[in-house]
Each structure stands twice: as C-alpha cells, then as structure tokens.
C-alpha cells in the first residue's frame, strides 16, 4: 500500500521585546540565574498581569506578514497544570479567541514555491526552566525565561513530507527574522517546533490518529524526527498494529522517537478566560500603523533582486536568507552598481570568510562601505582578481583600507606604453628564447608572460601583457 503522511506544525516564536509579556521585568539571555524576575514573574500573591503593547504589535506584524485576519477582539485564557517552572500554576495563553486566524506561508520546497495554510497565531507567556541535578538529588528552577512573550503559529495539517515541514519552518524563520520580532537563536530557544504527525493510505480523506512530536527544535531534528516518525507509524500499521494518540519525544542521538505521555495521561488544562485581563481590543488604526511599518519580506525581496537586478534565483535566494545579508548586499550594490559582481563577492569571499570565523554578517569586521571601495577598484580595473583577493584578506583581517593597500602594493598596470617598455626589456634580456619563439615555438608565450609578471610583481594586466608580447614579436619577425 502507498502511504501518505500528514503533518502540521506548531512553532513557538519568542518575541524580541525589551520586557516580559505581562510585566516590566526585562527579557534577556545572558543574565545570572533568576535575575530577570519580579513579583509578577514569580506569580506572588496578589500581583496582576498587564499586557505588553510591544508584544501585541510584534504578533500583529507576523499575522499581517502571513496574511492572517487580525481579530479586533481576542481573549487571554488560563491554561492550568502544575509544574515547578510554571509560577502561577497556569500559563496565560489564548484559547478560543486568538489574536490572528487564517493566513498562509510560501515556502521553497526543492526549488518549487508552495503555499501552506495557517490555522491561527496566538499569544502566550513562556515558562521558566527546571534543571534536574541527579547527583545532588534535587531540582532547581530558573525563572529568567518565565513570562517571555511567545507567539504560537499553528499550521493546518497541510504538509505531506518531512521535507515540506523543514521548508515551512525555514520560511517562517526567515520571516520572523526579517520582521525583527525574533532574535532567531535556536540554541537560546527563540524558535521552537512541535509537529503533529499521522499517516493514511494515499487517497483516503479521513485523517489517521495523530502523534504529537516534541523536542525537534532545529531544522535537522524536524527533518529527521518527522521522517522517522512517519516510518514508525507505517511500520506499526503494516505490522497489524494501531497508532496510539500520544506525545513522543525525538531522541536524535538514538535516531528514534519515544513515548512521553499517552492520551490517558494528557492534562485537562481547564481553560477559562483570564479574569485579570480585559479582552484585547485592536482597532483598525493600530492595524494600519503596523501594516505601514512592515519591512519588505524575504520572498518579495528575492523576487525584486531577480526582476530588477538581474540576479539568478540561486544568488537571490542566498542573499535573502537574512535581512542583514540582503541589507548588506543592497548597501554595497548602491555604491558599486554591478549586482553580479557584488553578489559573487559576497557569496564567494565574504560569506566563506565569515563562515570560517564563525561570524554572522551583522558582526562582519569588513563593513559594506569598505567592501564597496574594494569592488569599485575592481570594476574600474585597478586591481587584478588575484590582487583583489589579497586586498580583501588584508582588509578583513588587518582592517586596513583598500586605498592603503593599493599604496603599499601598487595597483594594476594597464598603461600600454609602460607594459610595452617592460616587455621590450624582457625580450632584449632573452634573445635565445625570442629566436626560438620566432622559429615557431609559441609555447614560450607563457615564459615571457611569467617574466613580465615577475618584473611587475604580478601587477601587470595579463591581457595587456599578452597583446603587447604578440605585437612586439611581430615587429621582430
């Protein structure tokens, strides 16, 4: 039998606000344990939540970028369960009335643009972190993360392969980064994914029993975890078994998923509207203001790079992987004017060098302005390709400017008279080789070019040297 997998993703995005979702305590990632707390974060008796307007604006940005309906009224609800890192015994979330509904996301699946539908986006607060110390037989809780604003983006069960799921996740990641609403550090947990996975015979309309897959917080884990879970489910059914509705954890080291809790162990969250918070009202003026503030999204930018700048789809794709990268490109392009040259240099030299040093383009030691001075020299023919690479290394590593490097090393010699003069000297110094060349041994061309290059320390324009040698030889025939 042929099986079809059905996948929906729930992705939690930590919003890059200055303060927490319901109080002024700061959001941060490098602080001492339990430094980013206040009585509201700790859920102390009598304290009350007050919604962070910046977080709402960020959630609206994502909703508008994905074409969601921004609901004029949404309601915060309490989701109850007991766990030490949940200070109030409930999480403030949204249940029946989320801030955004509908919407869709374009993603590139193996070079093909595909549209995936969203169910909703809702806002909620993050929990703290529990650390179990087995050696001391106790647990510790760090509440720094507690109360950090999250949006949960919930897709329809509209993906049919692990590959599509990864493409969807990457596309969403790019968008939230481009919108500036998420730091985008997966290790920090800024962007976390759960998947609902089921399988059914191809052609069947009814959905199979779903399994919720957790601990897949990287593109790689999503890809491998889902692929494996699909295989497991098919094997269970083909072996005559049934899929249990449950939550499973991906164990990447072992390459298997394991039961975390079964349906019988699932919580009754006892959702009800939070009486401490009024319904969240968003008027059209607010929506319009947020819409106006939206930056160009990666997909639009990619299309513009191809259409207006004549870049190939691969180049455009690489350059729009992050807003910072695309901004860098556009800044260099504005000064240099040769899109292909700029694209080649950013991809070839700059990204490779950054990658070697483990740096992001935001923290590149070579600024866009400086790279632009180098590329301008190249486009005017003042540096050879080889020189340009040496100059780039010096600029990147030693921080010297292109002009200083030129002064120290000299630019490219393109002046025909000067090249002729050097060529003549070389010919005069090597009469035997000249005689052999004139006798038909044209392979000696390389010998003469090499001598000229040695004499100019590689600064002579190779094409001009070639032309000069041929012309001056002719005169001696």
């Amino acid at each position: 039998m042929t099986w079809e997998s059905v996948i929906g993703l729930e992705i939690h995005v930590q919003l890059a606000t200055k303060s927490k979702l319901f109080t002024a305590a700061p959001v941060g990632y490098d602080a001492e344990v339990n430094a980013l707390v206040d009585p509201v974060v700790l859920g102390m008796p009598g304290v009350l939540p007050v919604i962070n307007r910046e977080a709402v604006t960020m959630a609206m940005k994502v909703g508008l970028a994905l074409g969601c309906t921004i609901n004029p009224t949404s309601v915060f609800a309490r989701k109850h369960y007991f766990y030490p890192d949940l200070p109030k015994g409930y999480q403030i979330s949204q249940f029946e009335a989320p801030i955004c509904t509908g919407g869709a996301l374009w993603a590139d699946v193996n070079g093909e643009e595909r549209l995936f539908e969203l169910t909703r986006i809702h806002m909620e607060e993050d929990a703290g972190k529990t650390v179990h110390d087995a050696s001391r037989g106790c647990s510790f809780v760090d509440y720094n993360r507690a109360g950090v604003p999250l949006i949960e983006t919930v897709s329809e069960p509209c993906m049919r392969s692990a590959e599509e799921a990864v493409a969807y996740m990457k596309a969403l990641f790019q968008i939230v980064r481009a919108l500036g609403v998420c730091r985008g550090n997966m290790e920090e947990g800024n962007f976390r994914c759960d998947a609902n996975v089921s399988v059914r015979p191809l052609g069947e309309e009814r959905l199979g029993t779903k399994v919720e897959l957790k601990n897949i917080n990287s593109f790689r884990f999503v890809g491998r975890g889902i692929a494996h879970e699909v295989e497991r489910q098919i094997a269970v059914i083909e072996g005559g078994g049934e899929i249990r509705q449950e939550t499973r954890l991906w164990d990447d080291a072992a390459g298997v998923t394991r039961t975390m809790r079964t349906k019988e162990e699932a919580h009754d969250y006892r959702y009800f509207p939070d009486p401490d918070l009024m319904p969240l009202r968003i008027d059209s003026a607010w929506i319009d203001a947020v819409r106006q503030s939206l930056p160009e999204l990666p997909r639009e930018r990619r299309a513009r790079f191809e259409r207006d700048l004549g870049l190939g789809s691969y180049d455009a794709d690489v350059l729009t992987q992050s807003s910072a990268r695309a901004d860098y490109f556009e800044s260099v392009y504005a000064s240099v004017g040769d899109a292909k040259l700029v694209a080649n240099w950013i991809q070839g030299e700059l990204l490779a060098q950054l990658n070697r040093e483990g740096l992001e383009i935001e923290s590149s030691p070579l600024s866009a302005d400086k790279l632009a001075t180098l590329l301008t020299l190249i486009s005017k023919g003042k540096l050879s390709g080889k020189q340009a690479k040496a100059c780039f290394q010096a600029m990147f590593k030693e921080g010297i400017s292109a002009d200083v490097w030129m002064k120290n090393h000299g630019g490219q010699i393109t002046d025909a008279a000067e090249i002729d003069r050097i060529v003549l000297t070389v010919l005069d110094d090597n009469p035997d080789q000249v005689a052999q060349y004139l006798g038909g041994k044209e392979k000696l061309m390389g010998f003469f070019v090499g001598r000229v290059m040695a004499a100019t320390k590689g600064r002579a324009n190779p094409a001009s040297v070639n032309a000069s040698i041929k012309r001056l030889m002719k005169e001696r025939m």
Binding site: G46, V47, L48, F82, G89, V141, R270, F272, P275
Partner: protein
C-alpha cells in the same frame, strides 16, 4: 494628655489632631494599649506593627509641628485585612500556606494609605483566603464579636469589623467577594463599603475570585468610610481591570440633601429566611428615609434566588485557578515530603489549605473540567448576566436600592460550621451586587433584642459611590445608632477563642 476617646470617629480624631488636642503618638500608643488589653480575647489582630507605627506617629507629629501639610489620613491608626500585601510585613491570608510569607511589595491600596500618612498598625484576621462568612475558617482561630463574645463577627473580613467595633483602630481595610466587607460590618455594627468593581485597585490584594474581588473601606462612621474610599479609589496602571477614571469624590457631596431620591425596595430581599427583627429594623430605616424626603418604590430583582448558586460556581472556579500558585516551590509552605514533584505539590496543598478552602478548590476544579465547563461555568456566567440585568431594570425606577445586609444578626460561634450550605446562605443578599459589580455598603440600622447590631444594605448603580455615601450619611445623621458602643469588659473577660494562635511569621524572605 486629655482622655482619648478611641471610639470616636476617625473624622473626630483628625479634627482633634489638627487642633493640637491630640498627638499622633498618643493616639497610636492608646490604640496599641487597647489591642494589648483586648486582643487576647478578640483575636482580631494577626500581626501588630507596634514599633513601626510608633516611629511613624512620632515622625508625623514632628512634621506637623514643623508646619508641613500632612496627608488626608494623617496619624489615623488603620488595620489592614491580612489578604492585602504589605511590604516587609507578614501577609498570611489567615492560611497556614502563607504563615511565613512576607511580601516584598505593597498593594496599591497600601501605598495609597502610606501616601495619605495613615499609620498601618498591623494585619487583621479573616477567613482563610477570604473563604467564609463567619471568620471561623481562619487558620489562626476565630474572632470574637465585640458585641457578644460568644458570637461570630461575620466574615470574611471579621477581624477588620471587630477591630473597629472594639476601638482598636480608627479605620480598616476589608475585601469583598460575596459580602465579605458588608456582612461583618452588619454583624459588628460598623460601616463597610464595597466599591464599584474596578474603582479600587486589586494589585497586591491576594486573589480569591478575580472578577468579584474588591478592596473597600471599613469605619465607624459614614464620613470616615467616605474619607477612606476617596483615598483608596482611582485608576491603577498595575491592574488591567481598574476603571480608567479619577478616584471617587464622595466627601464633598456627603452632606447634600437626599430629598427626592427614589429608594427601591426589592421584595426578594425580604424572603422567608429573614429574621423578624432584621425585617423590622430595615423597614423602620425605610420610614426614616421617607421622612428625609426619599420616595420609596417597590422594585424586583427576580433572579436573586439563583445568585448564590451561580456565585459558588464562578467564585470557586476562579479560586481554583488563583490558588494554583501555592505549590510549595517559590514561596509559602512546602511539605517535608519532597519527592517526587507531584507528591510534594499534593502534600503541600493538603497540609497548607484548611477544609473550607479545600472544599471550594475541589468545587471550582470540577466546574472548570473538560466536559463540565459549559454546564457549570458558562451557565453561571449567563445567570450573572441576568442578575446584572435585574439591577439595570430596577435602576430605571429608582436611584438606589435599600434592604437588609444579612438575613440574620450574629449567630453563635460554631453554630453553622458543620453545615456549609446554611453558611453560604448568609450571603444571599450581598452576593448579587458582587455579580453585577455594583457599589454597595452596609451600615448600622438598629439592634435586636439580644443587643446584636443589624445592618442596612445600600446598593447604587455603577460608579454611584457619591449617591451611596450621601444617602448613608443622611440616614446616619437621622438615626441614633452611631453612639452605641459594645461593652468591652465582657469581651476582655471572654478569653481566647478556641483554636486561637498567632502566626509564626518570622520573615521568610520572598
């Protein structure tokens, strides 16, 4: 030092201090001395901030003699219900769960008291987490009613009412979720006001049922309560349910005439459970209002019989959520049974909560459970809307509603503790105005033949505090009840009530 009359109104005490006849220090010392003399028997005070209060009083006297202008409550000793957080001062909610809890923050109302130069004398006993109508549900023992020491003071703000009736403080704060200010005010012969929902900040008031809870003033006179209400009320950005409007100004119109006001009398508030003497006292008060120029009109609040049932769904549901935070992890009681986690949390809650709180948490948890939510919680919300509509319709025909606060005067200690349902019915007249979020008050309107106070309840339309206090003041002026004081010698001789103990709050850091 002249003879200090601790039973005088706060307004009279303020006047005496302004006139230089009385110092803040003298008043504070006398109040502490009376607490010292009475409270072993009364058990109203869970914590006494003696040294802090004396230091603050001395400082106020110095500021006054330096010619500084002082706040509107300057030098008045005030007791705060132990449901309300006070920075650096134990706040227990009369629960073993928070016996050692010392909050690092002030409730907004406490900050307002401090800004007004009131002297916070200490914290007052109550039913645990404000769940009770008799003050018998405190983890630290019941409070005696100063008028009759073998009887309840009412609840849950029983300590706040008794402390005032016994003259141990000039003002007090209570909280009211289903009658917890008005019913003890009624049973102890003092004035208590529950403001419009959202008028007074809830920030720092420990939550019982968030959509119903309000902090309010308690006092020995209407003018005192008005003065305190004006200080407490006003928008607070820390409370999202706080009404974005300036605070009340009830004092400036307090003495205006009430002639021509239409007073609505709901027949449902004189139903079969009401004591004959309560009925008579309230009807006599209505006659007094008539003589003051009010028009008495009959109104109907037909959904009153369903209010108690709806309330016990909504309040317990919210409580089951609000009290989920007491898990023994970050603060509060933690069971010695430390592992595994689930067992630690279960044992902590079983040990920390008393039987009435446990009963209500179970009820509320059930009401919110999957599959029952629609039948209980949503249905109760619909009843709530109907109850609010009753009032809306009634206020088309009248400006204010008047009736009894409690169907009964104070009952004996222990008389109804074994029958929770009978106890819940004590609040039958007070609950509807919480469900509707309306401002309301209780004030003395006489005594029964045992000498027990009877309370008159006034209910105004939303934001109608000025009318509420004006009518209350006119009635008070026209009636003779304010001069009556309990016999404190009998109270003193009663001895500690059964189960009384002080919290061992030795400053667990938060």
């Amino acid at each position: 030092m002249s003879e200090i009359n601790l039973d005088a109104s706060a307004s009279e005490l303020l006047r005496a201090m302004d006139a230089g006849e009385l110092s803040c220090l003298e008043l504070t010392q006398e109040s502490l001395a009376r607490i010292d003399a009475l409270d072993a028997s009364m058990n109203a005070w869970l914590h006494i901030e003696g040294e802090g209060a004396l230091a603050q009083a001395a400082e106020l006297d110095a500021r006054r003699s330096a010619g500084e202008s002082l706040g509107p409550l300057a030098g008045l000793p005030i007791g705060v219900k132990d449901m309300i957080c006070t920075a650096g001062m134990p706040t227990t909610a009369a629960s073993k769960m928070l016996e050692h809890f010392v909050p690092p923050y002030d409730a907004t109302v406490v900050r307002r008291l401090k800004d007004a130069d009131a002297i916070i004398l200490g914290k007052l006993n109550m039913d645990e987490f404000a769940m009770g109508s008799s003050n018998e549900r405190s983890a630290f023992g019941p409070v005696r009613n100063p008028w009759s020491p073998e009887r309840i003071p009412g609840g849950s703000s029983g300590g706040s009412a008794a402390a005032l009736a016994a003259g141990t403080c000039a003002l007090s704060l209570g909280t009211d979720t289903g009658g917890s200010i008005r019913q003890p005010a009624s049973l102890c012969g003092v004035v208590g006001v529950k403001p419009t929902y959202g008028r007074v900040s809830r920030y720092g008031a420990i939550a019982f049922a968030s959509s119903l809870d309000q902090v309010g003033p308690m006092a020995r006179s209407v003018e005192d309560a008005a003065r305190l209400l004006d200080v407490l009320s006003g928008h607070d950005p820390l409370d999202s349910t706080s009404i974005p409007a300036p605070g009340c100004d009830t004092l400036s119109t307090l003495k205006n005439s009430i002639a021509g006001l239409r007073v609505g009398v709901p027949s449902e508030y004189f139903s079969e459970g009401i004591e004959q003497e309560v009925d008579s006292a309230v009807r006599a008060a209505l006659e007094t209002l008539k003589s003051l120029g009010c028009d008495i009109v009959d109104v109907s609040l037909p959904h009153t019989p369903y209010a108690v049932a709806a309330y016990y769904i909504l309040a317990t549901a919210e409580a089951s959520s609000n009290l989920a935070r007491y898990d023994g992890v970050a603060y509060g009681h933690r069971s010695a049974e430390a592992a595994p986690l689930d067992a630690m949390i279960s044992a902590t809650r079983a040990e920390g909560f008393g039987p009435e709180v446990t009963r209500r948490l179970l009820l509320g948890t059930y009401a919110l459970s999957s599959g029952y939510y629609d039948a209980y919680y949503l249905q109760a919300q619909k009843v709530r809307t109907l109850v609010a509509n009753d009032f809306r319709d009634a206020f088309k025909r009248c400006d204010i509603i008047v009736g009894p606060t409690s169907p009964l005067a104070a009952i004996g200690l222990g008389e109804r503790t074994s029958d929770p349902l009978q106890m819940y019915l004590m609040d039958v007249y007070t609950i509807p105005s919480n469900l509707a979020g309306l401002p309301c008050a209780s004030m003395p309107c006489g005594f029964d033949d045992k000498g027990l106070p009877i309370g008159l309840q006034l209910i105004a339309p939303s934001m109608g505090e000025a009318t509420l206090m004006r009518l209350a003041h006119s009635y008070e002026e026209a009636s003779a009840w304010r001069g009556e004081r309990p016999d404190l010698e009998t109270l003193k001789k009663a001895g500690p009530p059964p189960g009384a103990r002080k919290p061992r709050s030795q400053g667990e850091g938060a």
